[in-house]
């Protein structure tokens, strides 16, 4: 908002600090937590203490006291609840202390999930403004970032939430997802810096999440639904394992080979390195040496990325680029780890029409899940329960051999004869 005001508030706090002159007395002793100030890795406890001593916010003192207590008793003491902003049904993670009689200063410690820009890009003006608003209303603790992909503004009281949100919202920030709805998405750096980005994942992320913004704020499905957008099969967002809808960049044609750079690579690292570290690691033996030249058989290539990673200057993804969609990734509870599996092998992702076609497909998928899923059932679990074939029928997709690692190994089914 206005920079002068924030600068001023900084100054005021500084002079407050000088005036009080009893920094060492503000926080209560936390001998267990102090152990985490030792060692070379940056200490979050030192950070908390610095902030608490500067701002003298009682909530910070209370939360540190309760955390120290947890370190002693080896139990957690937060319970959930329902705090939200006008018109929204999600985005604030409510935390009340279960032991507020002991630590009244920690009685409320709610988190605001905020959606960052796709790819976690920032300019300092927006980040400073975020910090100033957050310091004004909240504790000043921020996790960058939560496992959901959100900016986690940790520690605010219920009666300040609306005002804080209004100010954040005016500055261009919106709450993230929670509960049984669309969730905040995650993208890798994408075309912002990576030579392997096979589509504009930042743009797709932005478009898709804007489209589903209503159900992100007002959850109404069986359970959560997460998107992650990775620019290439290196999958730096861990989308296959961590998202219901994994959108991964890929290409159809041959890997681009720069012959001179291949030669330069071999000159520098030697033919042994080429054989041991590139050719032998190809999962489908698609690379061979012919008269000392490296040859890639495109029909055998599965676009795993290894050779491109090993020889980034010499090899690049092909030109006919697009996305693959995998679905159903989620972690252990309750049926065991479920990795996403391939549902759409290839879709073009260049024009606005491509994005619209993608969103249309996703809407059909969600509609099917909304009809077929059970309470607390992620889409991968629904597909496993009813069958991939039934899912494909439900959303009108043709079966494709790329969807399975091999055809079935048992003969028990009813076919249409």
């Amino acid at each position: 908002m206005d920079g002068a005001e924030s600068a001023a508030s900084k100054e005021v706090q500084k002079s407050d600090e000088a005036g009080m002159e009893k920094n060492e007395n503000f926080l209560n002793p936390t001998p267990m937590l102090d152990e985490l100030e030792k060692g070379p890795w940056p200490s979050f406890i030192s950070g908390f203490k610095e902030l608490a001593e500067r701002t003298k916010k009682p909530m910070l003192r209370g939360v540190m006291d309760q955390l120290e207590y947890s370190y002693n008793t080896k139990m957690g003491y937060w319970k959930g609840g329902l705090v939200t902003v006008n018109g929204y049904g999600a985005g604030i993670i409510t935390r009340y202390s279960l032991i507020k009689d002991k630590f009244p200063e920690a009685s409320e410690f709610h988190t605001m999930r905020i959606q960052p820009a796709p790819g976690l890009h920032y300019n300092t003006a927006m980040l400073r403004e975020l910090c100033d608003i957050w310091e004004k209303y909240g504790s000043g603790l921020i996790a960058l970032h939560g496992q959901t992909g959100d900016i986690m503004l940790q520690g605010i009281e219920q009666d300040k939430v609306q005002e804080c949100f209004d100010e954040l919202n005016q500055a261009g920030w919106d709450l993230g997802g929670a509960g049984a709805g669309m969730r905040t998405a995650v993208s890798c750096i994408g075309p912002g810096r990576c030579e392997n980005a096979c589509y504009d994942n930042l743009k797709l992320h932005q478009s898709v999440l804007k489209h589903f913004v209503g159900v992100l704020h007002r959850p109404e499905w069986n359970y959560k639904l997460k998107f992650k957008f990775s620019g290439c099969p290196n999958d730096c967002t861990n989308s296959i394992m961590r998202s219901d809808l994994a959108v991964i960049g890929t290409w159809k044609d041959a890997i681009e080979v720069d012959g001179d750079e291949v030669k330069a690579w071999i000159d520098q690292k030697g033919i042994d390195a080429l054989v041991n570290n590139v050719i032998n690691h190809c999962p489908t033996k698609a690379i061979s040496l012919k008269n000392g030249e490296m040859v890639i058989e495109t029909r055998d290539c599965v676009r795993c990325m290894h050779c491109l990673n090993a020889m980034p200057k010499a090899l690049s993804p092909g030109k006919e680029r697009g996305i693959s969609l995998l679905m159903g990734g989620k972690n252990t509870l309750k049926v065991g780890v479920n990795m996403g599996s391939l549902i759409i092998p290839y879709m073009k992702m260049e024009s606005d029409e491509d994005i619209e076609a993608f969103i249309e497909k996703i809407e059909e998928i969600i509609e099917w899940w909304d009809d077929s899923g059970l309470d607390h059932e992620r889409i991968g679990e629904t597909i496993e329960r009813v069958g991939l074939k039934q899912f494909l029928e439900g959303i009108g997709l043709e079966a494709d051999i790329n969807m399975v690692s091999r055809p079935r190994d048992n003969p028990y089914f009813k076919a249409k004869y």
Partner: protein, 359 residues
């Protein structure tokens, strides 16, 4: 409270815009990058088709940051990077600048602030982890503390690139494992069925919901002291903690019986082998704040063996596929036991259905 008079009408804008958060050189070369090199640990050099070059300096952060810390990061970005910065999914901060001469002074300044520069290439990067006692409502431990303790011992490995391939770590405060699958994951493992508070249960829980949450149908309705409640068939219970999420009166956490397990071989990337899930290689480690030395020690043993024995580009799971689990346990000094044999769905897919034997 104060009546909301200056009513701001909410704009449901979704993710923040990103175009204005991209460095001008990034914007100019968006989608037109040619290749990259890693001139030294913690520094990336990306070259665009246009010939433009952008340098990235990467540093570790505590993830549990404060406005003070973030303002300091902004100061660095303003001084050296025209006011732009970003974060990685592993909680590292990245500063992008087209000016090569800014790289070394920036490294010095970050190190002086106590932030280790590294996390690139074949190193141990920072840990993706959960909220723990600081903020979660169902945690058995404090991931931030475990991570700080682990990264203290792995500081050198973060700042150098001496591993066979990159190592991704995660830490989670319950078996939901929000920290995620990783090359090495440190995850809480409950070892006892939930303790039920029969006085409160029917007041705070929807009984059918808690019953339905159980993956092995071990929860049944019952009446205790005239109150409707639930009981757990302890022989059936697999100590997953799923019921606790639905019903806070089914306390799964225990100061002594909630332990740690160590898992290895998770891989998210498609490079070489397909993505793989983790296997358990140690469990029953104590939940021992504030420094969790037993956990740190076990992780160190695994990393040491991998660093010594892994071939270039092999991730931990791929290294184990080559040398076999028998040698993995020998070389790490960890002990395989009968509880590491899967007993859940698809267990058979983890049995050795062949005559391949290692002696």
């Amino acid at each position: 409270m104060s009546s909301p008079e200056k009513k701001w009408k909410t704009i449901e804008s979704g993710p923040h815009t990103y175009e204005d958060a991209l460095h001008p050189v990034v914007r100019a070369n968006y989608g037109k990058w040619k290749y990259h090199e890693i001139p030294k640990p913690g520094v990336l050099m990306h070259v665009a088709e246009s010939g433009d070059t952008i340098y990235t300096v990467r540093a570790g952060t505590p993830r549990q940051d404060t406005v003070d810390m973030i303002r300091r990061l902004c100061d660095v970005a303003d001084k050296y990077c025209d006011g732009y910065l970003r974060f990685t999914v592993r909680n590292n901060v990245e500063f992008l600048t087209p000016h090569q001469e800014n790289v070394e002074p920036m490294i010095k300044e970050l190190e002086a602030m106590g932030l280790p520069v590294g996390g690139t290439g074949m190193c141990v990067s920072s840990v993706s982890h959960t909220q723990g006692w600081l903020h979660c409502d169902i945690p058995a431990t404090d991931a931030s503390g475990v991570v700080k303790s682990m990264m203290d011992t792995l500081y050198h490995e973060f700042k150098n690139m001496q591993m066979p391939n990159k190592v991704r770590l995660s830490t989670s405060c319950c078996s939901i494992n929000c920290g995620g699958q990783a090359d090495i994951a440190v995850v809480v493992k409950h070892t006892r069925p939930p303790r039920i508070n029969h006085d409160h249960l029917s007041l705070v829980c929807e009984l059918p919901k808690a019953v339905a949450r159980c993956p092995v149908a071990a929860i049944r309705p019952t009446v205790v002291n005239g109150k409707r409640s639930l009981m757990v068939d302890e022989a059936k219970c697999i100590c997953c903690g799923a019921c606790f999420g639905a019903c806070p009166a089914m306390e799964i956490n225990h100061p002594e019986h909630s332990k740690f397990a160590i898992w290895v071989g998770g891989k998210n990337s498609n490079a070489r082998s397909k993505p793989s899930t983790m296997s358990i290689v140690a469990h029953n480690l104590p939940n021992n704040p504030p420094r969790w030395p037993e956990v740190t020690d076990a992780v160190g043993k695994i990393l040491l063996a991998y660093k010594e024995g892994g071939h270039p580009w092999e991730r931990i799971g791929e290294w184990i596929n080559r040398i076999g689990w028998k040698r993995f346990f020998e070389e790490t000094g960890l002990t395989f036991d009968e509880d590491m044999i899967d007993s859940y769905r698809h267990a058979r897919t983890t049995f050795n259905q062949s005559a391949h034997v290692r002696f």
